[in-house]
Symmetry: C2
Subunit: 406 residues, 2 copies
């Protein structure tokens, strides 16, 4: 007997917003099931359900206990799974719903942002073996105290990827409201085209594009366990973008251009350049819960140096607060600029090719764009420039590296 | 160390209809907890939650699978328990919520009307030992397939009683929208008074009064396991009616008078009086799902007899349907009367006293009430009379047996 191909399909809250959406999703799953695929579906809470539950919680307690919050919020996905099972039954498809705990998803003890520690998909596998579509509640699992814990942001994607890994599924399909990953934001670059494939590492570097589509944590998990992902739209039946190992695909020099306009720059002038100052500075900033991205430090002059770094724009407040009082770090002046953008070129081909950075710099020079900061990785070149030039720069780079569609 | 008294408190859907109600209930529980009682709270789904879930289910499937229906509906109570825990935290009371499965409630395999087979209240007891208020989801448990099963009508009362039995609690308080059990319906008998105590057997016989307050199944369960019940209102702080073993209380001749106006009478004239005819007749009626109450058979004359019986009024249709075609039962004519009422006097004292029935008959004779049928048990005398005389008869009997309040 030939083994059925097995796919894990994840549908987010907007794809299952109401009973009509559920029926549409069910019909799509039914078609795939009839084509002979084994299917595990992971779903989020329906549309506004989570918001409504949170609203009720706030009416009884301004700051509810994490355990009870999880006990409450986990009902959202439980409602979706049972309704989706019913919708599949209505189409004559054998299906069964499973809460996270029923599906064997185990987590650590941190409520509201738990990590999956292990999946024992015994019941899921049993039901797959009986040719049932298995519908699993995303975003939740059973913690060591045998309580329901929720996984935090992007938790449903993570459930899908982890379940795909545990079941050794052939693919994990993430259905969203976009139809794939593009060479650039199509709203900015008219000639942007949808990518057929993108490497895990590229996807991670394209975070600013990908964040709207895939959480980094899910991509990292998929990479770690070799789970092939597909990002596709739930509103049309057409292929999306496959995210997989670079070794399985043709290297390209530049896969895409991403512009992140949610950045702000912090510049500290006249920092006392003593050993360990950078460590103290960035430890304090990290302790304030701020994610620092690009860091540039100038050459020291007369015992003083300038340090610049970028942070997400909405974390500028906490940065300002903590900078005033870091033990062992003194500086003359702090300047803040929240009108910057980070434009990045990403491609695994850069590993074996040089000259990408210089091509970027000359393209931007032709546009009279001033490069404020530069940051590179093995497969990425990023520049920090003024926000108002970001779109022009993105378009120019997209063309310069031959990404414009024919 | 003296053992804390332990009470199980059950609040129905109308007592926890919205966050404001939840806060009120929490405040009541908090007061009891501060008085040094150990408290387990059993709650139903909030107000219209269950209806809303059922409505969504019907939108995707006209006749949803029982398993998925239970998976869906059980979220209703899970929402209440977590919100109530938060509301108690807000008042500074240590509390923890438990779904039926978490509370160790095990059921049989019949979804949507499961029976509790066993309770292993290990986690409940652990939390009680830590002086926490434990809030348990009513109406649900874990079935042998490790799925959530719901208990069917009155299931939350049953959860409370069963939990009280399993924990050997001192009392199980059922909070409702009435403040107790009365000697008669106060809307009919102005002088009716609230009973301080009533025996389990009396409560069962007073079903027509009690059904609005307590399901028979819960009373039977409480009697079986010797759980002292209290029926009281959630809207005021005052004692309700205690339901307990007759042996623990003073016998009274008549505890109360109940009138059941939801009855209809079926009379079969000229039934062939052969052996087994009654058995065949009532087996067929029972198979039609009809609950027969009072049965009267006249003395046989010339091989024929008349049989009368009462059924709930809304079951008259099924009775009429099945009567036409019962193998081995033939009769000349069937007559139906849906303008009757059953008036009952109940009291454990009747066990040791005679003369109650004759007092009933003479009281009704004085009122010129025609008694159509009579039925008695050890602790009850019931008469079937015309519906329009039921209220007068109730008032007269209430007075005749000294129940009118001073």
């Amino acid at each position: 007997m030939m083994k059925k191909p097995l796919v894990v399909q994840k549908f987010g809250g907007s794809s299952v917003a109401d009973p009509e959406c559920l029926r549409r999703v069910a019909s799509r799953i039914a078609n795939d099931a009839r084509e002979g695929r084994g299917i595990v579906v992971v779903v989020s809470a329906m549309g506004k359900t989570t918001d409504r539950l949170i609203h009720m919680a706030k009416e009884v307690h301004a700051d509810p206990s994490d355990r009870e919050y999880d006990q409450l919020l986990s009902t959202g996905e439980q409602i979706t799974i049972s309704l989706l099972a019913m919708a599949l039954h209505h189409l004559g498809v054998d299906a069964v719903s499973m809460t996270g705990p029923q599906a064997g998803i185990q987590t650590d003890a941190s409520h509201t942002k738990a990590k999956i520690t292990k999946i024992d998909p015994i019941r899921v596998q049993e039901n797959l073996d009986q040719d049932k579509v298995v519908i699993v509640a995303g975003f939740q699992g059973l913690n060591p105290s045998r309580d329901v814990a929720t996984l935090g942001r992007g938790g449903s994607d993570l459930t899908a990827v982890a379940m795909a890994a545990a079941l050794n599924a052939d693919r994990c399909q993430i259905f969203t409201d976009v139809d794939g990953v593009y060479t650039a934001d199509p709203r900015v670059v008219q000639d942007a085209s949808k990518l057929e494939v993108v490497a895990f590492d590229e996807m991670l570097e394209l975070a600013s594009m990908g964040a709207k589509v895939l959480q980094s944590r899910s991509v990292e998990f998929a990479k770690k366990y070799g789970v092939e992902l597909e990002v596709l739209t739930s509103f049309e039946v057409k292929p999306g973008t496959i995210v997989k190992e670079a070794s399985d695909m043709e290297d390209v020099l530049v896969r895409g251009v991403a512009a992140d306009k949610n950045q702000a720059k912090v510049t500290l002038r006249g920092v006392d350049d003593t050993p360990g100052v950078a460590a103290r500075l960035f430890t304090a900033v990290a302790d304030a819960g701020v994610n620092v991205d690009v860091i540039v430090q100038n050459i020291s002059q007369e015992g003083h140096t300038d340090i610049s770094f970028t942070v997400p724009r909405d974390e500028l407040g906490p940065v300002k607060e903590c900078l005033g009082s870091i033990a062992g770090v003194s500086f003359k002046e702090a300047a803040y600029d929240d009108t910057i953008a980070k434009v990045s070129l990403v491609g695994v081909g850069m590993r074996s090719h040089t000259g990408v950075a210089s091509n970027v710099f000359s393209t931007l020079a032709d546009l009279k764009v001033n490069i404020q900061m530069i940051s590179t990785s093995e497969i990425r070149v990023s520049v920090v420039i003024s926000e108002e030039q970001a779109d022009d720069a993105t378009r120019a780079l997209h063309a310069a590296f031959g990404l414009d569609s024919a």
